[in-house]
Symmetry: C2
Subunit: 195 residues, 2 copies
């Protein structure tokens, strides 16, 4: 079997994160065999999302306007700026209902192995945003992976050099965990940061 349109679809699906050649094949066959309406809908949704979604001029999250709803919300505390790696992380923080300040969304995180440095993640825009004279505290909420830690470390240094107060999300035992199943590094952090 060598059908150009089908092969093209499999190639295009493979560019999605987490999709290898087998999954791409399965998706393409499924769409063509059982869900052509879904394929048409996906094509339309892709086109529309690319056309309509852009980055908020202030915080760089996804928005359809010039500035996102969160940045324009007068009930938000403009003295707090929380830095996250992705819009998905921002969504998780929002769902937690624990934060009422504003956000800044990086273009990912520093990853030397992938050639992604501090310039590539939009650090310059963050420094400019944080220096608006209103922000009092920058909360670094990048992940606690190696890359997330490196990112937080580099940003903290640059922000502190500009006289800003910088904090980091607390590390510790996850809610609902039994201690015996928590990894030792986490327990050590939780002990060191006990309160």
């Amino acid at each position: 079997m060598s059908e150009p349109a089908l092969d093209g679809l499999i190639d295009a699906l493979r560019r999605l994160p987490g999709v290898g050649v087998k999954s791409a094949q399965r998706m393409a066959f499924h769409l063509l065999q059982h869900d052509r309406e879904g394929a048409r809908r996906l094509a339309g949704a892709l086109t529309e999302a690319v056309q309509r979604t852009r980055h908020c001029a202030r915080c760089h999250t996804f928005t359809e306007g010039e500035v996102c709803a969160t940045c324009e919300d007068p009930r938000r505390n403009p003295q707090l700026l929380c830095v996250v790696e992705t819009p998905a992380d921002q969504a998780a923080l929002e769902r937690s209902g624990s934060y009422q300040g504003l956000y800044f969304v990086l273009m990912g995180r520093i990853s030397p192995l992938d050639g992604i440095g501090v310039v590539d993640i939009g650090a310059a825009a963050l420094l400019e945003r944080a220096a608006d004279g209103v922000v009092q505290e920058v909360i670094l909420a990048t992940g606690f992976s190696a890359e997330g830690e490196v990112t937080a470390h580099a940003l903290a240094a640059a922000l502190r050099a500009r006289g800003l107060k910088v904090t980091r999300l607390a590390r510790g035992v996850p809610a609902g965990s039994e201690l015996e199943y928590v990894d030792l590094g986490t327990i050590a952090y939780a002990m060191g940061d006990r309160r």
Copy 2:
């Protein structure tokens, strides 16, 4: 965050097999943040595949013509008809290089739990195809899952009732396997079908 175009894209991605809400979010964010060109390409590939790909009039596999290249290949043995669940299974058999006959691709397999019966998988078209007077042997190459076995059983009965010779792919120990790691059911089949 509630951005209609972004939410629409996440919804559309969730309809892909094996993609849950978290993966769909990650895909959508990745495309919009890092690969807008990939999103445009995928939209085009979807549209083109839906428009150009149809089912072969003889074997029901995907093709861009009226009849697929395999069915039109004069070097193929038209006396052998191999029945598979999906075009992906057909591709696997082709890669094995072990078969020179023709194919018939079902619309999946019988699955009572999902309400998919013998009518839904295109059995009527298979019976018509197999009764062309040329086919001498129908090889049932549906999977060896419970659903694949049920499908093979139902099709074998219907095909034999029409006087056709019906065979099934051999079960046994996979090539390259150590016996101690092979499951007991497979060993029992391999012993029973020893040659």
